[in-house]
C-alpha cells in the first residue's frame, strides 16, 4: 500500500467543516419539525391526495427521463459521428434550450395553443382544428423534454468524443455489423454518461414549480408550495417534503445501481471514430429532426416571445424592469462568485481523493442539488427564523427597536439558499478540472516551497481557468432561471426577472412577459455561446458538463 501524504492544510479542513455544517444543519430542521404532532390538514391530504402526488410525480419523471434520454442521445450521436450541412452550428445551438426555463416555455406554449394563440389562429386559417391540450401532464412532459434534453446531450456527447474507436472497430473485425455494434458496444459504454445526464434531468423536473403550478399538475413541489403558501400549513408542507425526499433518495440509489457497480477502468486510448458524411435521404431527414428539436426547445418559444415583446414593450420596458434586471444581475453575479470560491476551496480539499469521513463530508456538502427547491426553501426559512430568534437579544442590544426577524427578512437568506442548492454544480465542474490537471503541478509548487494558499492562487487558479469559467457560467444560468427559492425567500418588494415573469403569468398577462423573458433567455444564451460556441482549440478540453 502506498501511503499518502496529508496535503490538507488546517485552513482548508476548517473551511470544509464549516461549509458542510452550513448545508447539513438546515436540513436537520426538516427532521426536527417532522416530529411535531399531526394536523387535520395532513390527515386529509394523506388520505385523499398523497397517492396521487406520488403517482403524478413518478409518471412525470419517468416520461421526462425517457424522452430526454432518447432525444439527447440521438442528437449527440448525430452531431459527433456524422458530418452534414450545419453540423457545427447545430452542435452548440442544441445546448441553447438550457437557457429557456421550463415555466417560460410553459407560458408560451399554453398561450400559442390557446383559442386566440398563434398556432390556433394559423390552423384556423387553413381550416384545421387545434386538438392539442397543452396544459396537461403530456404537455408538461413535452416541455420538460425539450428544455432539459441538453443535459443528456452534453453528457453523452462528451462520452462519445472520448470513446475510443477501437471498441467499435473490434466489433467490426469480429464480424458484427455497424448497426449491431452500436447497440452492443457503443451504447452500453455510454451508459454512465447517459444515466448521469438523465439523473440531472430528473432532479430538475422534481425541482420545477413554475410550470406545474401554471398547468395545475398535482405533483409534490406544487403541493408543498400550496400547503406552505396558500394554507400556512407548516406541518403538512414538511411531511410532504419528507415523502419527496424519500423519493429523491430512491432516485439517488437507483442512479448508483444503474450506473453500474463495475468501474470501467480499462482505459483504451487512441483515436476516436471519425465523423462520416450522411448519405441519401438521411442527409435531409436527420438535420430536419435536429432543427425541429432545437425549434421546440428554443427557436419557437423565443420567436413567439419576440412577437409578444413587440406587442407589449411600450408598457413593460420601463424602470421597474430595469431594476428587476439589475436585481437579477447582481444577485446572480454575487451568488455565482461565492459559489465558485467556496467550490474551489472544497475541491482543493477533496482533490487528493480523500477516503472515509472526509469523502462522506464532501458528498454531503454537495447534496443540495438533489434536494428540490421547495424543500430547501422550507429548510432555509425555518433555519433562519430560528437563528433570528436566538440572536434577538443581540439585535436588541445593538438597536433597541430591532424587530425579531432580521436575517430572515434579508437577501442573505436567498443567497444562502442558492449556495446550498447550486454548490454541487460548481463543485463538480471544478473537480473535473482538477481530475484532468492531475497533481504534479501542485506538488511541484509545494516542493518549490510555496504554501497552500499561494499555490492555489498562483498555480491552480490559472490552470483551472476554463473549468472555473464553466462552473461560473452554469451556476449563473441556474441562478438566473431559479424560481421556487426566489419566490419564497426573497425579501418583500424584491423582484427579479424570474419572479416578475411569474407574477405576470399568475395574472394571466402572458404577453407582458415577453421583454423580461427575452432578456432572461438572451443573458443565458450568450453565456452558453461563450462556453460552448465555436471557439479556439484547446478550450473545450477542460469543460465537462457538470
Amino acid at each position: 500500500m502506498k501511503r499518502r501524504i496529508n496535503h490538507d492544510g488546517p485552513l482548508f479542513s476548517l473551511f470544509a467543516l464549516i461549509a458542510g455544517l452550513a448545508i447539513i444543519v438546515p436540513l436537520l430542521f426538516i427532521l426536527r419539525h417532522l416530529f411535531e404532532p399531526s394536523t387535520d390538514a395532513w390527515r386529509h391530504i394523506r388520505q385523499i391526495w398523497l397517492l396521487a402526488y406520488i403517482r403524478n410525480t413518478s409518471v412525470m419523471i419517468f416520461w421526462t427521463a425517457f424522452g430526454t434520454a432518447l432525444i439527447g442521445t440521438y442528437a449527440a450521436v448525430l452531431t459527433t459521428r456524422y458530418t452534414f450541412f450545419g453540423v457545427r452550428v447545430l452542435s452548440w445551438m442544441l445546448v441553447l434550450p438550457l437557457a429557456v426555463p421550463a415555466y417560460i416555455a410553459g407560458y408560451v406554449y399554453a398561450d400559442m395553443l390557446s383559442y386566440t394563440g398563434t398556432v390556433t389562429r394559423f390552423l384556423r386559417l387553413v381550416s384545421l382544428p387545434q386538438l392539442l391540450q397543452p396544459m396537461t401532464m403530456a404537455g408538461a412532459v413535452f416541455i420538460f423534454v425539450f428544455t432539459l434534453y441538453p443535459y443528456v446531450y452534453l453528457f453523452v456527447r462528451a462520452a462519445l468524443k472520448r470513446q475510443s474507436a477501437a471498441y467499435a472497430e473490434s466489433a467490426l473485425t469480429l464480424g458484427v455489423g455497424p448497426f449491431r455494434a452500436f447497440f452492443l458496444v457503443v451504447l452500453p459504454l455510454l451508459r454512465p454518461a447517459l444515466i448521469g445526464g438523465v439523473f440531472l434531468v430528473v432532479l430538475e423536473t422534481l425541482n420545477d414549480y413554475g410550470l406545474v403550478a401554471y398547468f395545475n399538475i398535482r405533483v409534490f413541489s406544487f403541493a408543498i408550495f400550496n400547503a406552505w403558501f396558500s394554507f400556512g400549513e407548516v406541518v403538512t408542507a414538511i411531511r410532504l417534503s419528507a415523502v419527496l425526499l424519500i423519493m429523491v433518495f430512491v432516485i439517488l440509489v437507483l442512479e448508483r445501481v444503474l450506473r453500474g457497480h463495475r468501474r470501467y477502468t480499462v482505459h483504451v486510448k487512441g483515436r476516436v471514430i471519425a465523423a462520416r458524411p450522411l448519405r441519401g435521404l438521411a442527409r435531409v431527414v436527420h438535420p430536419f429532426c435536429l432543427w425541429l428539436i432545437l425549434g421546440f426547445g428554443f427557436l419557437f418559444p423565443t420567436m413567439q416571445l419576440m412577437h409578444y415583446a413587440v406587442l407589449t414593450w411600450r408598457n413593460t420596458l420601463n424602470m421597474t424592469l430595469f431594476y428587476n434586471f439589475m436585481n437579477t444581475l447582481t444577485i446572480a453575479l454575487g451568488s455565482t462568485a461565492l459559489i465558485v470560491v467556496i467550490a474551489l476551496m472544497l475541491a482543493n480539499f477533496g482533490r487528493f481523493r480523500p477516503k472515509g469521513w472526509k469523502r462522506a463530508w464532501l458528498k454531503a456538502t454537495t447534496l443540495g442539488y438533489a434536494i428540490p427547491g421547495a424543500v430547501i426553501a422550507i429548510a432555509v426559512n425555518l433555519f433562519f427564523i430560528t437563528v433570528d430568534r436566538q440572536l434577538y437579544p443581540l439585535y436588541r442590544w445593538l438597536n433597541p427597536a430591532s424587530p425579531v426577524l432580521v436575517l430572515s427578512m434579508s437577501l442573505g437568506m436567498l443567497v444562502f439558499a442558492y449556495i446550498l442548492r447550486f454548490m454541487a454544480i460548481g463543485y463538480n465542474s471544478i473537480e473535473a478540472g482538477y481530475d484532468k490537471l492531475g497533481e504534479t503541478f501542485t506538488e511541484a509548487a509545494y516542493t518549490l516551497n510555496h504554501r497552500k494558499l499561494s499555490t492555489l492562487l498562483k498555480i491552480d487558479v490559472p490552470l483551472l481557468k476554463s473549468s472555473l469559467f464553466a462552473a461560473a457560467v452554469i451556476v449563473f444560468i441556474d441562478v438566473v432561471k431559479e424560481l421556487p427559492l426566489t419566490l419564497i425567500l426573497r425579501p418583500a418588494n424584491y423582484d427579479t426577472l424570474a419572479s416578475r415573469i411569474y407574477e405576470y403569468a399568475s395574472d394571466e398577462m402572458i404577453q407582458d412577459t415577453g421583454v423580461a423573458s427575452l432578456i432572461l433567455i438572451m443573458m443565458s444564451a450568450l453565456l452558453i455561446y461563450a462556453l460552448s460556441g465555436p471557439k479556439k482549440r484547446g478550450r473545450s478540453a477542460h469543460v465537462r458538463p457538470y
Binding site: S164, A166, L172, T173, L174, V266, V268
Partner: protein, 225 residues
C-alpha cells in the same frame, strides 16, 4: 500464395501514408513488421482488415479478392481478426462474453464449446466470469487474442501486442504467443517497435520506412528449447 498484396497505397486526406506495397505470405506464416513511429505500420493493418479503404492496389486473402479497384469487402464481412494495441476488450462484458462476441452466428452449444476450448488454450479456464479490468496486462492480451481467434478468421493482425506489458513478463508472453499462433496454424502479421520481438516470434521480418518496404529478411532461428 495464401495472402497476396499488390501495389497497395493509402492516403489520409492530404497525407499519403502507404506507397505501392507488395508482399506475399504463406499459410501459417508469421510476418513481423517493424519500423519507426509514423512509418505506416498501423495504417497497413487497418487497410488489410477493411477498417480503411486503400487508394489503389489489390488484396487477396485465402484465394479471394477482398479488395481491388472496383470493390472492397467491409471489415465486418472480411473475416480478418485484429488485436488492437490496447486490446479494446469490451469493459462491460466478461471474459467469456468477450470471447463469444464474434460467435454471434454460431449456435449456442457450439459457441459455448468454442469459448471453453479457447479459454483452455490460453490457460484461463477459471477466468470466464471476470471482467477485463480484473485482469493483468498479459491476461488481457491473451483474452484479446482468444477473442480474435474465436470466429476462425482467415488471418490475424496484431498491432503492438506487447506495448502494455512489463519487460519482465514480455519474454514468457512472447513465447506463449508464438506457440499459440503456431498451434492454430494462423497466418499472422505482427506490428512491433522492437526488433527482438520480431526475431523471436516471426518467420520473416519486413521493415517499413515512410510507407515503403525498405528491407525484408527471413529469420533464421536457432531451435527453441
Amino acid at each position: 500464395m495464401y495472402v497476396h498484396i499488390e501495389n497497395l497505397s493509402f492516403s489520409y486526406p492530404k497525407t499519403p501514408v502507404l506507397h505501392q506495397l507488395t508482399f506475399t505470405m504463406q499459410k501459417g506464416e508469421i510476418l513481423a513488421i517493424i519500423g519507426s513511429s509514423g512509418s505506416g505500420k498501423s495504417t497497413l493493418l487497418r487497410t488489410l482488415s477493411g477498417l480503411e479503404m486503400p487508394a489503389c492496389g489489390r488484396i487477396h486473402i485465402a484465394g479471394e479478392t477482398v479488395c481491388d479497384t472496383s470493390r472492397c469487402t467491409p471489415a465486418d464481412k472480411r473475416e480478418v481478426g485484429f488485436v488492437f494495441q490496447d486490446y479494446a476488450l469490451f469493459p462491460h462484458r466478461t471474459v467469456a462474453q468477450n470471447i463469444a462476441f464474434g460467435l454471434h452466428k454460431t449456435p449456442r452449444k457450439a459457441r459455448q464449446a468454442r469459448v471453453d476450448a479457447l479459454l483452455e488454450m490460453i490457460a484461463m479456464t477459471g477466468f470466464a466470469r471476470r471482467y477485463p479490468h480484473q485482469l493483468s496486462g498479459g491476461q488481457q492480451q491473451r483474452v484479446a487474442l482468444a477473442r480474435a481467434l474465436a470466429p476462425m478468421p482467415k488471418m490475424l493482425l496484431l498491432d503492438e501486442p506487447f506495448s502494455n506489458i512489463d519487460t519482465d513478463l514480455k519474454h514468457t508472453i512472447r513465447l506463449e504467443l508464438a506457440s499459440l499462433l503456431k498451434k492454430a496454424n494462423m497466418t499472422s502479421i505482427l506490428v512491433t517497435h522492437d526488433e527482438e520481438d520480431a526475431r523471436m516470434l516471426a518467420d520473416r521480418v519486413i521493415v517499413l520506412e515512410g510507407g515503403r518496404i525498405v528491407h525484408e529478411e527471413r529469420v533464421v532461428r536457432t531451435p527453441r528449447h
